[in-house]
Symmetry: C3
Subunit: 304 residues, 3 copies
């Protein structure tokens, strides 16, 4: 059993444990009104935290979301907005001119990107702004200065990173007078590396809360032919039965929710039923033995 809401980081915003992600929003094929309804229904079921990035949908998804919530005056106070910056897409149709994909974490770039996100999302504040990818050219003093300016101006309330290694987190944190609240990483029963490579150890030590992208491991958990996928499907299905009739997707989420670092899974579906299923996974109480059965199904061997 996991709590439905939790602070992200020691100083961070109160967020819903299940976060709705808009990575593929452009491809959901829904109208503006349907998206408005989707957002309302998410909030009604307790999913109030929404994950964006400037680049999603070739730089279009923030605006689609902003348009859908525009004019709903009370809505902004009911939700927490996460977005990201730092990737410069190559071959973008909406923002052409970049022929080779790269990153930018310079002061001016971060400030400008955050201000653009504010405008497109139709809000006066971003709850959490993340650096999307580790930039080998990150000058941590400069990145930290941009964060501090955005915070001072009230444009961004909290900050985090995504896909950072522990040494990259340490570097950036060392320049900040406040705590990074999250490291959004790829983590699932199919990708357990963050549990033993130091990433989640650091998150727990710093009392950051990881966000997990691709928390179901992409489609391969359901359709993959590999031995690992088969082992996981069998074990997740068995434990779904043992715990009261849950689906393998729900047990896979519960496996993340159990972790003591306090992971927030980002569920990227436009189907309300999928969001509802994710919320229901908060009700699953896995025993340690069940949790390690899933771990062993992932690694292919019992723990020593």
């Amino acid at each position: 059993m996991s709590k439905k809401r939790m602070a992200m980081g020691e100083e961070g915003p109160d967020c819903s444990r299940i976060i709705a992600g808009f990575w593929r929003l452009r491809h959901w094929g829904i109208s503006r009104n349907q998206l408005t309804d989707f957002v309302h229904e998410c909030i009604d079921m307790g999913v109030t935290t929404f994950d964006h990035a400037d680049i999603y949908g070739d730089y279009t998804c923030e605006q689609l979301f902003g348009d859908a919530v525009a004019g709903n005056n009370g809505l902004r106070g009911k939700m927490q907005l996460v977005t990201k910056c730092g990737i410069r897409l190559q071959n973008s149709e909406t923002r052409p001119g970049i022929s080779h994909q790269h990153y930018n974490t310079d002061y001016d770039y971060i400030i400008a990107s955050a201000e653009r996100s504010l405008k497109l999302l139709g809000t006066d504040r971003i709850d959490v702004l993340l650096i999307h990818r580790p930039d080998a050219l990150m000058n941590a003093d400069e990145t930290a200065r941009a964060f501090q300016q955005l915070k001072k101006d009230g444009k961004v309330l909290h900050f985090g990173v995504s896909n950072f290694t522990p040494s990259q987190v340490s570097l950036l944190q060392s320049r900040l007078p406040f705590q990074l609240v999250t490291n959004q990483i790829e983590c699932s029963v199919l990708r357990i590396d963050p549990l033993h490579d130091g990433t989640l150890d650091q998150s727990q030590q710093m009392r950051m809360n990881p966000m997990a992208w691709s928390p179901l491991g992409g489609g391969s958990l359901f359709t993959g032919d590999g031995e690992k996928e088969k082992r996981l499907r069998n074990e997740l299905a068995a434990i779904g039965d043992e715990t009261g009739g849950y689906g393998i997707d729900q047990v896979a989420l519960a496996w993340l929710l159990c972790h003591p670092s306090g992971i927030f899974p980002v569920v990227g579906s436009g189907k309300l039923a999928r969001i509802q299923d994710a919320v229901a996974s908060l009700g699953i109480a896995l025993s340690r033995e069940q949790w390690y059965r899933i771990w062993s199904a992932s690694t292919g061997t019992p723990v020593p």
Copy 2:
């Protein structure tokens, strides 16, 4: 030349440098009286620190030891007892009910395991209690709370870990008001990874003292057909001759004893001659050149 006794950790107990391990005690095939004699003779030769774990011998070895030393009133004050908790064995005959091996580092579990060890070992205090394996579900606050309670109650005097990575050590240490005194790791001339993967760097930095399990690398050092084993046997034998007629097992132990992190090898033999040989290895003074000849025999190449 290595000292025969040394504090384990800055704040830890004064221990014998050679530690007798009871991993295989159940299979030594000796009577209670013979075990009593073995313990006395170890102490007589200066080996006063004894390494246990709740699970050794399918949860039987602590009691075998406890029975052997029961009633010897002065004996407890002459020895230091190390034991471990956290592994839940699958298919145990003595504690059935676990079908899939896993770990537990929760508050209640640690307290209960330590109290059971106290009872089985027939003592009122454990000198050093270790978490046996890194538990991916370790809630460091909770584990640290258990340690503090056990220390406050005088049931356990010092704490450590076993098989932990540096980030796992850092996490747990960050929650404790006292120093972890050891990380018991697999380390030998056949497994030198801890010397370059950061494990022993951290131990030295934190002034913890590593304990080395399988400090002779298991039987393969003596019988293995691999090139690495052959190179090591040749080099260890040559250096044994150069230093005054020591055996390859003794030179392999001296190689560990020389390391500046201050390693305590755990020798798991029930044969007094083997323990005596290990103690004699404290008398070997390896030159830096000899030490690196062994390193190179292990890696297969001279250092750059």
Copy 3:
């Protein structure tokens, strides 16, 4: 565009960004007078920092350099001398007696080695002394004590390391009351590991400045048949054209000079034209997109 001079470390000496290295001095085939001229001309073009090691040229290069600058009284004040200690060469012709290569970072050894370097270089102070290779037997307390003594005596002004991992740097730094100013590592467009394995993250965090040895990756950048070398040559040449007609060696240096950790490349050529080319690379301003094109040419794939 990179500055021509910069402090090495927060507390370190003001150095030329391009450092002349004397690794192969013995094989340059130049006379003492020619070397004197070479040093003067380096200084005239702003290359005032010179990188040595006790072992270069089988322990002969420090003296060759010292002889060449002897008697030029004003010269010492115009240059910064870096040298290294800790490697004990096997099969040396000038210092025989070592049959197996190894390291030594003991107090007495470091003191003696630094004093010998002072004598051979013909100076009363070393600006920066480095431990040449990580010594698995490094007792950090002892190494730090040697550093403190040498500093107190004015014989060495600043200290660093070379080829150290982050955990090795942390260990040694933890024992010092002053900052290590550099970690001299192998780093180039052909070896970018330090940019993502934590090495340069640590340097930036600690405000150490890396020195890069083999900053052009050895000859293979120019002549290698591998796909990686070919990709890099093509991309470096293209960017050389875009930025105003620079050579691939110059763009490769500019790629290092751009990094926010503040890398000092060590150029090991005895040809003044090569040094001049390196200095000219300080004038190249790479865009982020150009920098990442080189990164991708090295890894073989665009960044995600």
